[in-house]
């Protein structure tokens, strides 16, 4: 099992969600996030005040899938989230030791 964490533009959420569901993912966790990579923030002046946006709004997705599905899901995310511009986001993949379904204590990939 692998955990796929993807940081994407908020405007791409619907497209990415549809794409990963299409790729065979059953469950997805969506978090509102802020941050920046190479794409730095900017400053907006409004009515004499300075509003600095150094942490940009992003959406973080967390998906845990069986090893066989990882490439397909990553492709789905990249395909749906890419605009080619700076700020499109990142994907991180890490191994998962165990998954447990709380309701019935089911364990392993079937608990996903």
């Amino acid at each position: 099992m692998q955990k796929i964490e993807a940081i994407i533009q908020p405007s791409k959420l619907d497209a990415v969600k549809d794409a990963v569901l299409e790729a065979g993912v059953d469950g997805i966790t969506i978090l509102e996030a802020r941050g920046h990579g190479r794409q730095k923030g900017h400053t907006e002046f409004y009515r004499g005040r300075e509003y600095t946006v150094d942490l940009l709004p992003k959406i973080k997705l967390e998906i845990v899938v069986g090893d066989e599905l990882v490439d397909k899901v990553v492709d789905a995310i990249v395909g749906a989230a890419r605009t080619g511009k700076i700020g499109d986001g990142k994907i991180f993949i890490s191994p998962i030791a165990e998954a447990i379904r709380i309701r019935n204590d089911e364990r392993g990939p079937t608990a996903l």
Binding site: E32, A33, F45, G48, L56, P57
Partner: protein, 874 residues
């Protein structure tokens, strides 16, 4: 005392017989419910069945001794009320004459309990001596409450009679304070656990606010009051209060639903889960009509009942009379009449005498204005009396300006949502606005809507009023926008109507809401501009939410949204509407993340609007449709219309209705003869002056100076010009000295004066010398004036934004500073935030942007103009 429902059996029974009887009858009971869905019949039947079992098992438990001598078996709690739900515990009290008797017969109670479990009953027994029931047990008010429903089943009936006729009537008045405080605390902490709202996605129909426990609580409180007033249990004399119709209907629905849940889940599970709702609706549980109902409709029925129960119980809890009163409470309890109405204020609640005529619809409506302003609540009696006079009110229901004045006062009151809820609960809101009926308790059945549509609307209105006292940083930001909404009344009306279209399914609800609002706006006698404001807000209330799902830092997203929005005022209202609307979906819907994004979109759009005016100009060749639409309104000189429209900023066209543009065009036709044309239009709190003339140096400075000299305080202004140099300037101002209001004949002289000065037929200097100076007094705002140049946003002009404490004549001094430096104002956007002037000027010099040296030079003049020491008109 409730008599036993059946005489004791003559022959003893075995436990096996009783178990078989219970099993057989339970199956029959379930089958009967499956056929009829009659919950009340089911719980009565099970209570009777358990009565029979208790009477027949008691001889077994006492091993042949006569139970009548030992103790009384008394049904308490729900069983006592004959409301024994299919999988509920059987609460039974074994009452003994003395503690010694109780001690001596402990084994009988143990036996009885064992037999009941053997039969298959989930017994919840308690044994007490009579004396133990005479006092309130600390931390166990529930036991005393359960005694209120005591019903003799078997054994020593005299003991049960003693409990009801002597013990309880003495206990309740004696322990009144503790009892009522404990009961109220218990209820309030339970309500708090459920967020103090009936609107739960998957409600527990026993424990949730408005559920069965609240229904019972109302019954207990009624019993308390009855004992306190009459000295005996209800039913023991003729003065018992009959149950209310709405309470009975709610109980029947909840009884049906709870029986359904028990049979469905095979246990005492009272949560109306998502799936359970679907199944209950499919079987029309609790509904009068048979067949399959829509789950949303079914839940709507549930919420209506829950609302009636919750409202009743909260009114009763609030109205509980206290025994000891503080000085403050004594003052509050004094009865004071509410002038102009039949009502009076007592103990912080609005009440009415039973014999008050209530024949005047106006005074009842006025009552809700008072509630909106002061936040008082109606007593149950006042609500009931108002509900009684419905038919009479219906005959005299006001419309037009009177109705709007009432609605306006209510909407603007800090407790508007509270007043609207009260009106809605009684039915008055729907009488005034029948369009609201469709969303009464309407459920949006998804996982994130916490409230029904009507409640969502009230919460949204409340969210705006909460901004009067902002707490978080971003609340402060949005609160700053409320102050700058000119027509908060229209804005709040738009919120009131924004989701009414949800009642009509399978269609875009925003369009449907506009259609429904149209009927109301017509009845309110609104002018076209007011109608347009409300209609646009309703129509576009999802526009900003939808834009938030795009990349809000993409200039194209901002440009597109700004074009749809049109004006700063409208942008403010739309931002606030989005804020209030999202926050009213559920308490946590507006996360700081979303609030921040909403604010960023607002400021980006606001800045774009201020900085893009002369970039986007109208040209007849590229937009013939608008030209045709205005042309259709023009009766003559049609050929000159294109000249007038060519080169006007899109901002001007977006913020004016076609008929207003037509009027401005017709004014422009009079320039040749009169030099300038001026139209003055009184608005609610402001005056609007529109000037159409040919541009010339110092024009803006002279007109601003003339207005100040007349004692007018300019709040907003904008100045636009077309390719031919015709300017359309609009000034919104307050009449500080009420010159125009108190002397209507001055209106004409005022207009002529402005026309004369604009056309240079009258010199401005004598007017400036003759008028008062420094009329506004010292500005309370202490801030350093600030200017900012932007040479990027426009390809033709340099933008200058100034922020300075507002002062009399400031606008004229600024305009003079530009003129003295040969700078031409191409566009001016004048705004005032509280006592701070926030102005944006598009300037050029000899047709070019201002270079760095010129900017520096002009800055010196502008700072001098903004210096309060120069706060004069000259």
């Amino acid at each position: 005392m409730h008599p036993p429902s059946e005489s004791s059996p003559s022959s003893p029974a075995s436990i096996d017989d009783l178990r078989a009887l219970y099993a057989k009858e339970s199956i029959a009971l379930e089958q009967s419910f499956a056929r009829t869905s009659d919950g009340v019949a089911a719980i009565r039947r099970r209570s009777t069945l358990v009565d029979t079992l208790v009477r027949r098992m008691l001889p077994l438990a006492s091993h042949g001794k006569d139970a009548a001598e030992l103790m009384a078996a008394i049904a308490v709690g729900g069983y006592g009320r004959k409301e024994l739900f299919p999988y509920s515990d059987v609460d039974i009290l074994y009452l003994f004459a003395t503690p010694a008797a109780e001690e001596a017969h402990k084994q009988v109670v143990r036996n009885a309990n064992q037999i009941m479990w053997d039969i298959g009953l989930r017994a919840s027994p308690v044994s007490r001596a009579v004396k133990e029931c005479e006092r309130l047990q600390t931390g166990n008010v529930e036991f005393t409450l359960s005694l209120l429903d005591a019903r003799f089943v078997a054994g020593n009936e005299a003991l049960a009679r003693q409990l009801q006729s002597q013990v309880l009537p003495a206990l309740i008045p004696r322990e009144w304070t503790r009892l009522t405080e404990d009961v109220a605390e218990l209820a309030r902490s339970r309500h708090k656990k459920y967020g103090d709202t009936i609107f739960q996605l998957e409600p527990n129909i026993k424990e949730s606010p408005g559920g069965l426990r609240d229904h019972n609580l109302a019954h207990w409180l009624q019993t308390f009051l009855h004992i306190r007033e009459h000295g005996g249990m209800p039913g023991s004399n003729a003065a018992a209060t009959p149950p209310r119709e709405d309470a009975e209907a709610a109980f029947e629905f909840i009884a049906d639903a709870r029986c359904f849940l028990h049979f469905r889940n095979k246990r005492d599970d009272n949560v109306l889960s998502w799936n359970a709702q679907d199944e209950a609706a499919a079987q029309s549980i609790g509904l009068e009509t048979a067949g399959t109902a829509d789950p949303a409709y079914w839940m709507r029925t549930y919420y209506r009942h829950a609302r009636a129960v919750y409202r009743r119980v909260t009114l009763m809890l609030d109205a509980l009379p206290a025994t000891r009163l503080s000085f403050y409470k004594t003052i509050r309890r004094r009865r004071s009449p509410i002038p102009g109405t039949d009502f009076f204020l007592e103990d912080g609640r609005i009440d009415v005498d039973d014999n008050a005529p209530l024949s005047d619809a106006d005074s009842i409506l006025r009552l809700f204005c008072i509630i909106a302003v002061q936040g008082h609540s109606l007593s149950q009696r006042a609500e009931d009396r108002i509900a009684e006079v419905f038919p009479m009110l219906d005959l005299h229901m006001p419309e037009g300006p009177f109705l709007w004045n009432v609605l306006r006062e209510i909407l603007l009151g800090p407790h508007a949502a509270h007043a609207l809820r009260s009106m809605h609960a009684i039915g008055i809101l729907e009488m005034l606005i029948p369009e609201f009926h469709g969303i009464d308790a309407l459920v949006v059945r998804d996982s994130y809507h916490r409230y029904t549509v009507d409640e969502h609307t009230f919460v949204a209105i409340h969210n705006i009023h909460l901004l009067r006292q902002p707490s978080s940083e971003w609340e402060h930001r949005f609160a700053s926008l409320v102050k700058d909404v000119d027509r908060l009344d229209l804005f709040l009306l738009a919120i009131l109507m924004h989701d009414t279209g949800k009642a009509r399914r399978n269609a875009d609800h925003t369009l449907q809401s506009v259609e429904l609002a149209d009927g109301l706006l017509a009845r309110l006698d609104f002018d076209p501009e007011e109608r347009q404001t409300v209609r646009r807000l309703i129509r576009n209330h999802l526009e900003m939410s939808s834009t938030l799902r795009r990349d809000i830092f993409d200039p194209e997203t901002v440009r597109s949204f700004a074009e749809k929005t049109g004006s700063q005022m409208y942008l403010r209202m739309l931002t606030l509407m989005t804020y209030a609307d999202i926050k009213a979906v559920h308490p946590d819907a507006l996360t700081p993340w979303k609030a921040e994004n909403l604010w960023q979109l607002y400021i980006a759009t606001s800045n774009y609007m201020d900085r893009s005016v002369d970039e986007e100009r109208f040209h007849v060749k590229s937009d013939a449709a608008l030209h045709r639409s205005i042309a259709s309104l023009v009766s003559k000189q049609n050929d000159r219309l294109a000249n007038f429209l060519d080169g006007l900023p899109q901002r001007y066209l977006q913020t004016r209705r076609p008929d207003m543009i037509r009027d401005h065009f017709e004014m422009s036709l009079g320039i040749v003869e009169h030099g300038a044309r001026v139209v003055l239009r009184p608005m609610r709190q402001l005056y609007e002056l529109t000037l159409v003339t040919q541009d010339r140096p110092k024009l803006f400075a002279d007109v601003a100076g003339a207005l100040s000299a007349w004692g007018m305080n300019i709040i907003k202004a904008d100045a636009f010009s077309n390719d031919a140099g015709t300017v359309v300037d609009t000034f919104l101002f307050t009449d500080i000295y009420k010159t125009l209001e108190l002397n209507p004949t001055e209106m004409e002289r005022f207009q002529k004066s402005i026309e004369g000065i604009a056309s240079l037929r009258t010199a401005i200097e004598p007017l400036l010398r003759s008028r008062r100076q420094g009329a506004n007094g010292a500005n309370k705002v202490k801030m350093e004036p600030r200017i900012e140049y932007d040479n990027e946003s426009s390809t033709h002009s340099t933008l200058l934004q100034i922020m300075a404490p507002d002062a009399p004549g400031l606008l004229r001094r600024l305009a003079l500073a530009f003129a003295e430096n040969d700078c031409n104002i191409k566009v001016a956007l004048i705004d005032t935030e509280g006592e701070v002037a926030v102005d944006v000027f598009y300037l050029d010099r000899n047709g070019e942007k201002l270079d760095g040296e010129m900017q520096h030079l002009l800055a010196g003049s502008v700072y001098e103009a903004m210096d309060p020491a120069f706060s004069t008109l000259a």
